[in-house]
Amino acid sequence: MDVGIGEYLALASILFGIGAMGFLTRRNFLIQLMSIEVMLNSVNVMLVAFNRYQPSNHDGQVFAFFVIAIAAAEAAVGLAIVISLFRLQKSVETDLPSALKH
């Protein structure tokens, strides 16, 4: 089979969909964090694939590098928040009954 841009777009969309479904259906902070990482990485696949069809520049690949770096920063902040959450409720579930519900 000849792999063209359509296949890459399909792969990225499926990955993004898996991430989005995981984010929306699971209620464990760490799993939701991982789902967001899957979504960001699906974008990386897409950026690099699109860049193949723009041989004159490397904008897509550069973009992907920055996405990787920012995803790491996001994971760091997320892990810091999950530590605070765990210290308070001894669990990383995000839908426990809490102070903010009325």
Partner: protein, 496 residues
């Protein structure tokens, strides 16, 4: 004058943030951090303001390519530098009073404010999908950490969890939209994308999907209904100076990028008309945001939560101006800019007054906490009264002209946009109820027997912020002309 003058606000915050980090790490006495941070931000904002005034004398033509390729140094961006720096400087001073009073003083807060403000400013300058994403994440990561700042409080952590998860999700959606735009057009710079779309060289299906995803991502950031779920929890859980910062700087920067993306990328006739493209989408969002924000604010018993819903409603009013921009660019964009400026000083004033009424261990959050406080401390209640009046849009305060200009822009746009102005006027009339309720509690109620009585904190920082913000609220309400001219000159470039 050199282009570096226009770049220097960004550089000052970037390097100044490192300086504050070193001071925080090596100096044990933390007393000077709020002042250092506020001076840094105020100087950066002042340089940006000087840049707007002397803009025509600046030689932009010879600017190095690595500066101008990803960031624009136009009046529009400098305007947001001023608004963001001003809001951040006042929030830092409020934090100086609040954190000390409530024994939360830690240096990280000021570093987070500086870098979140830097991210917000980059968003205002961004003319490339890459810098939009970097600016957005720099700003948001700082804001998430600021919400979680009081980490022993369940409310703060829960607000941060919601804000972080939904914010990151929104950023991922926006990023997917960006990648689609890049795939459809082969460009990451906004102008290049706009030209490719206008020239018909892009798959219209991909472009529409990308536009939809970018609007969803930005709607999260400005907390437009139905993407506002995180707003009340994050705003209520965060320490109040962080709430102030989020509601003014983060929101303004998100509007900056929304206006720039919609007008430069999707400004062609196909994407922007009364019946197709983004104007009907944003108009719908604006209408439900105004109605829902105001109705939900009525039912709140906590003033802080009420102000969170009020900030949702204000996002709706500003979006009315954004919608009108597809037809009357200059009037509409300048009305949005004026709105954000007036909203910044008004919101700082109101949140600052709420902070002022809290002393150690007794933070004022509910209406009941404020009962009778105005009669006991009229001088402290005065900024609160002016603050809610300007948020309500009562003349002669800044909020009145802000609302007047955005609704006027919708009327000027005509053809199918007038109903939006009517909804705006009606829903702000509804809003008068919960704003006036604050004044009623301040002056006409007595505290329940045995209930704790609000005692204002003693803080020169907070008092100073009240004077500055109060001055601008009244000044922009009595003589709005110069400020509107400033907004007009910043909006000029979008005239096609």
């Amino acid at each position: 004058m050199s282009v570096w003058m226009l770049v220097s606000p960004l550089l000052m915050l970037g390097l100044g943030g490192l300086l504050v980090m070193l001071v925080d790490a090596f100096v044990d006495e933390k007393a000077e951090l709020p002042i250092l941070t506020a001076i840094l931000l105020a100087v950066a904002g002042g340089v940006a303001a000087a840049g707007i005034v002397n803009y025509d004398n600046v030689a932009l033509a010879g600017a190095p390519e690595y500066l101008t390729r990803y960031l624009a140094f136009d009046r529009f961006a400098l305007f947001f530098d001023v608004v963001v720096c001003g809001g951040a400087a006042l929030s830092a001073l409020l934090a100086g009073g609040y954190l000390r009073e409530h024994d939360l003083e830690r240096g990280e807060f000021y570093i987070l404010i500086i870098y979140a403000a830097l991210g917000a400013m980059v968003l205002g300058h961004a003319i490339d999908l890459l810098t939009i994403f970097i600016g957005l994440e720099t700003m948001s990561l700082g804001a998430y950490a600021m919400v979680a700042f009081r980490r022993t409080s369940a409310r703060a952590v829960e607000g941060a969890v919601k804000y972080f998860l939904l914010g990151s999700f929104a950023a991922a959606i926006l990023l997917f939209g960006s990648a689609l735009l890049y795939g459809a057009t082969g460009h990451t710079d906004l102008a290049g994308i706009g030209e490719a779309i206008e020239g018909g060289n892009a798959s219209i299906k991909l472009v529409l999907m990308a536009m939809f995803m970018m609007i969803v991502g930005l709607a999260f950031k400005v907390s437009a209904v139905p993407f506002h779920m995180w707003t009340p929890d994050a705003y209520e859980g965060a320490v109040t100076p962080a709430t102030t910062f989020m509601s003014v700087a983060v929101k303004s920067a998100a509007f900056a990028v929304m206006v720039r993306v919609l007008l430069t990328v999707f400004g062609d006739d196909l994407s922007a008309s009364a019946a197709s493209g983004w104007p009907p989408v944003i108009a719908g969002l604006a209408a439900i945001t105004m109605v829902y924000g105001n109705l939900a604010a009525i039912g709140q018993s906590s003033v802080k939560r009420m102000l969170a819903y009020s900030s949702v409603a204000h996002a709706g009013y500003a979006m009315v101006g954004v919608v009108a921009a597809f037809r009357v660019e200059e009037i509409a964009v300048s009305s949005v800019l004026f709105y954000l400026m007036a909203y910044t000083v008004g919101n700082v004033l109101t949140f600052g007054a709420l902070i002022w009424f809290g002393s150690n261990g007794r933070e004022a959050v509910s209406y009941e906490d404020l009962a009778g406080a105005g009669r006991r401390h009229p001088l402290v209640a005065l900024p609160f009264v002016i603050g809610v009046l300007t948020l309500m849009g009562f003349p002669p305060t800044a909020g009145f002209f802000a609302k007047y200009y955005v609704f006027n822009a919708a009327v000027q746009a005509g053809g199918g946009m007038i109903w939006l102005a009517i909804i705006g006027v009606l829903s702000s009339a509804v809003g008068a109820y919960y704003y006036l309720r604050v004044i009623v509690f301040l002056f006409m109620k007595e505290p329940q027997p045995g209930a704790p009585i609000a005692i204002p904190m003693r803080s020169g920082y907070v008092a100073f912020v009240m004077i500055i913000a109060g001055y601008f609220v009244m000044k922009m309400g009595i003589t709005p002309g110069p400020y509107l001219d400033l907004a007009m000159s910043a909006a000029e470039q979008f005239v096609s």
